[in-house]
């Protein structure tokens, strides 16, 4: 039983068209392609932030989107944790309030706060403001925030791209640790196959058009 089935057509206002299909199994699936190939668009379609022109998206047994039967679950009901490329931590909230944001809105009991703090080593950061964090710290907070939302799937946009090259390995380790510890399948996108090879269980190429 596959975790995610995706088969969608999408068209931007600029005329750029995307026609892409893939299946994700348990573990980490990496979608790899050059910039402009529509990788982030695929994540936004899965998360429900964009609506396909036609096609279907299925998470486990749940239809998230189906053009033929007019199913289109809103993002808040898709139970998907999305780690944006620039993290999008809420600047008016502390790290702890950021982490609790999704937890308070989770429809079922997610991983415990203490457990996530421990695995991602966030203990020293909880009282801090997001602006005071380094890129790697922000990413760990974003990951923790997504995990505490109780997701059935994690989406990661260029998880190793925005961070300092020296930090790549540590960030990759945190990611691998979290995904293994909380047993949540993940789909990540990257333009660089080499950097994510160690993290990914399966690699799906995307070329756009």
């Amino acid at each position: 039983m596959s975790v995610l089935r995706f088969d969608c057509r999408f068209r931007y206002a600029s005329g750029f068209a995307l026609d892409f299909a893939f299946v994700a199994e348990r573990g980490v699936t990496a979608i790899v392609g050059p910039s402009g190939s529509g990788k982030t668009t695929v994540l936004n379609l899965i998360a429900g932030l964009l609506t396909p022109v036609e096609g279907m998206i299925e998470l486990g047994e749940t239809r998230l989107f189906d053009a033929t039967s007019a199913i289109n679950l809103p993002p808040e009901r898709r139970e998907i944790g999305y780690i944006f490329q620039d993290y999008q931590l809420f600047p008016h909230l502390t790290v702890e309030q950021n982490l609790r944001y999704g937890q308070r809105r989770a429809s079922h009991a997610p991983a415990s706060f203490e457990h996530v703090i421990e695995v991602l080593e966030l203990d020293a950061l909880v009282k801090r403001a997001p602006v005071s964090l380094s890129g790697g710290e922000k990413q760990r907070v974003a990951l923790g925030r997504a995990l505490l939302r109780g997701p059935r799937l994690l989406l990661l946009d260029e998880p190793l791209n925005a961070v300092d090259a020296r930090l790549r390995q540590t960030i990759g380790e945190f990611l691998a640790r979290a995904i293994a510890e909380f047993k949540i399948p993940a789909v990540l996108v990257s333009h660089d196959q080499e950097s994510i090879a160690a993290l990914a269980d399966a690699i799906v190429p995307i070329d756009g058009r």
């Binding site: 809103p74 808040e76 620039d86 600047p91 008016h92 403001a129 997504a146």
Partner: protein, 232 residues
């Protein structure tokens, strides 16, 4: 600097009128600012024009239009008086209505800018974390736009304190009921030794206006600092 009783009365009335005007129009201004900043729809240009019209229209014209609309024989005014018993003409509530309409564009502008500065991706992040549209607005957009909302409210309040043209059209110039600071200054200047008698109120107006501008600036800067640095 002490004021006499008529002057104190005018100051108190101005504070009431401006306070009610700002408080009553704030929810509407937040809604308008949000829609103008984040939504596109046919006729948006028209909505913008109507909201901004009082900014450039002679206040006397605005007051006249309000009188036509909210007068006892106006279709809104008649309806409100029959159903709710609310009267605007020659009433302090009319002065508050005039102040609210005239200051509305000044209130909407900073609120709109503040909402426009809220990154859509933050709202999307909130949605993926389980927040519906309304929840994302209350928990993310509104707190982030707070400095702009406060500064819009202060600006509109200050403008309301000085409202004259529209006020005199719909509310008249009744001591103790609608004679606010500018209307009292106007009345005093029509008397022989007016300039001397109005001097204290002129100075009071300047002080109140300067203080509210300074406060608006302070609120906005404090809000910005809070978002950029230490979270309180």
């Amino acid at each position: 600097m002490l004021l006499n009783s008529a002057e104190w009365q005018a100051v108190g009335l101005s504070l009431l009128v401006a306070g009610v005007a700002a408080a009553a129009s704030l929810p509407l201004a937040v809604l308008a600012g949000w829609i103008l900043a984040k939504r596109t729809f046919p006729g948006k240009f028209l909505v913008e024009t109507v909201i901004n019209l009082p900014l450039v229209l002679p206040p006397v014209v605005t007051g006249y239009l309000l009188l036509v609309l909210f007068g006892r024989r106006g279709w809104l005014g008649g309806l409100l008086e029959r159903t709710l018993g609310v009267r605007f003409v020659f009433d302090w509530k009319g002065a508050a209505l005039a102040a609210a309409v005239v200051s509305f564009p000044l209130m909407v502008r900073p609120i709109r800018l503040a909402f426009a500065a809220v990154d859509d991706r933050l709202l999307q992040a909130a949605r993926t974390l389980g927040a519906g549209r309304a929840d994302a607005f209350w928990s993310v957009a509104l707190p982030l736009a707070r400095p702009g909302i406060l500064s819009g409210a202060v600006l509109a309040w200050a403008r309301s304190m000085g409202e004259f043209g529209a006020t005199i059209m719909i509310a008249g110039n009744i001591p103790g009921e609608t004679r606010t600071i500018p209307l009292l200054i106007y009345s005093l200047l029509e008397t022989p030794d007016g300039p001397q008698r109005a001097a204290r109120l002129v100075i009071a107006s300047i002080v109140i206006a300067a203080m509210s501008l300074a406060m608006g600036e302070w609120l906005e800067q404090r809000g910005r600092r809070r978002l950029q640095g230490a979270v309180a």
